[in-house]
Symmetry: D2
Subunit: 171 residues, 4 copies
């Protein structure tokens, strides 16, 4: 009985993982680009670390239920804001990526925490210095009608969580 | 210069406070009903505590920017799910108040943290025992087409934050 | 290479797990007593759930690195306060289990978060209602010279995290 | 009655503020040095921002109860580890500033959260790039017998919280 419900659960999570990856792709982001940030973060600490290994840890992160829910919720808000379906004043807050909004960081923290608080530092660093794809996403988000308020934080949080996962393994 | 921008800010927050209260009302909840939970929580610890004092602390909580943003975001997701504007699988997760979703608790934590971690215990207690208006909101949320996934957590979190505010004052 | 370092790591965590269990025992708490709280929390939701299964999930929780570090740190502070080795005003804060201290809840949150934010509610409920062994620990902590400021929160957090682990598996 | 207890409380917090500042000084850190980090962080966003203003916001941060408790607890652990009063394996974890410990970041988060989640990014950035006094503290911490495991995170967290306070005011 248990085995079956547990199997169902895993299938369910694998299905949600596919949707998360598809949504990220639709917003212009691949798991490989996220793994590149993870590699940048952990290369100095893990000699010989490869992009393939980092991608493997990014894949583990997006199999986690809390991560999937945070990403699906954040990206949905970005998309609904773009479509004009979010009511004011939230719509303007999202469309302008208002610096004091804070809820994007709250969802990012939920992702980072999945591998413990050691990921906080890396998340903050990626978010501030806009490493790799985060920079591109940030630039694209400045175009009229585009909302990337959550997208850049979701990317930074997944990359930082994957970096924690790498650190825990190669400690 | 500073004074002016600071005044603007306060006006802005007071304006958002009005919208937050209006949205809560539209979802069937008054600040008085939230203050009743706060009174229940703090009465044993603060002799002579009144509903009026609790309401005053609830008012302080909804003047906080992070609280306003969390509530506006959570209630928006409930409403958009009801309207069928949220894509799958998030829509089903929200409409069924899926127990492993977790993002409702994440937003609640952001609210509670505004007055420090001592509010965690009260939030958990209110959420689990469904005190006062939380119970009513939970029942109404079971009706077809109604989504209260975030609403009950937002109420519990505001009540717990106000209880922390009372505790900090009458320590 | 990786395999070896990974094996070392697991051995290291298993060693820390033994120390954590020993410390809890020295403070008058067994994993079985913690598992009883988990059973109380999840019984209504998982028909046929046994104490043995709950104990298995408690064991998983205390194998997690972040949990081990939080518990070792919290229990150390309790013990050092009892021995009079903590400087003022922190010593008095700890010895009196000052309600506005908050750092006990902060460490508890780090434990609960290991299995996602769904554990918040259960932690708050256990902490407030003082289920099972939490009640006993709380009573003992009132004796002269005894400090259980962190102990009760560590127990509640482990029990709540194990309940989340059960919920994720039998969803 | 309320007024009196509230006045007591403020006196109490002012007293604790003095102890926090004294402890930071004893560990080689002044509030001015922390304010310099805050200035570095916010200068690009707030034209004409001065060190005096940043210091004013740092002072507000160390008047907050949760901040005081986190700092007192973190610095106590550093000092007790140096004195050899912390039991193993925690002592070695602290003395070596073990990268996967995580509890230093947990306490830092409690400090940062006092001004909302927008401080997360700045904390991570300061912690990773070791701005100003953080760098010095980190270097000194490598000397034999010195433990700065919590000190650098406490500094970074206070500086980031003060930066949030500045941002909220001059938004």
């Amino acid at each position: 009985m248990e085995r079956t419900s547990s199997e169902d659960r895993r299938l369910d999570d694998a299905h949600k993982r596919d949707i998360v990856v598809k949504r990220l792709n639709e917003r212009g982001v691949s798991l490989e680009e996220i793994a590149e940030i993870t590699l940048d973060l952990q290369k100095p600490h893990v000699p010989g670390l490869t992009l393939a290994t980092c991608l493997d840890h990014v894949e583990r992160v997006v199999m986690k239920r809390e991560v999937q829910h945070a990403v699906l919720t954040g990206l949905e808000l970005d998309v609904l804001a773009e479509k004009g379906l979010v009511s004011e004043p939230l719509r303007s807050i999202l469309m302008s990526d208002y610096g004091l909004y804070g809820i994007d960081e709250v969802l990012a923290l939920a992702i980072v925490n999945v591998y413990g608080s050691i990921g906080l530092t890396n998340f903050g660093y990626v978010d501030k210095t806009k490493l790799g794809i985060v920079k591109k996403v940030d630039e694209r988000g400045k175009a009229d009608g585009v909302c990337h308020t959550f997208l850049d934080d979701m990317i930074g949080a997944i990359a930082a969580a994957a970096a924690s996962s790498v650190a825990h393994r190669y400690a």
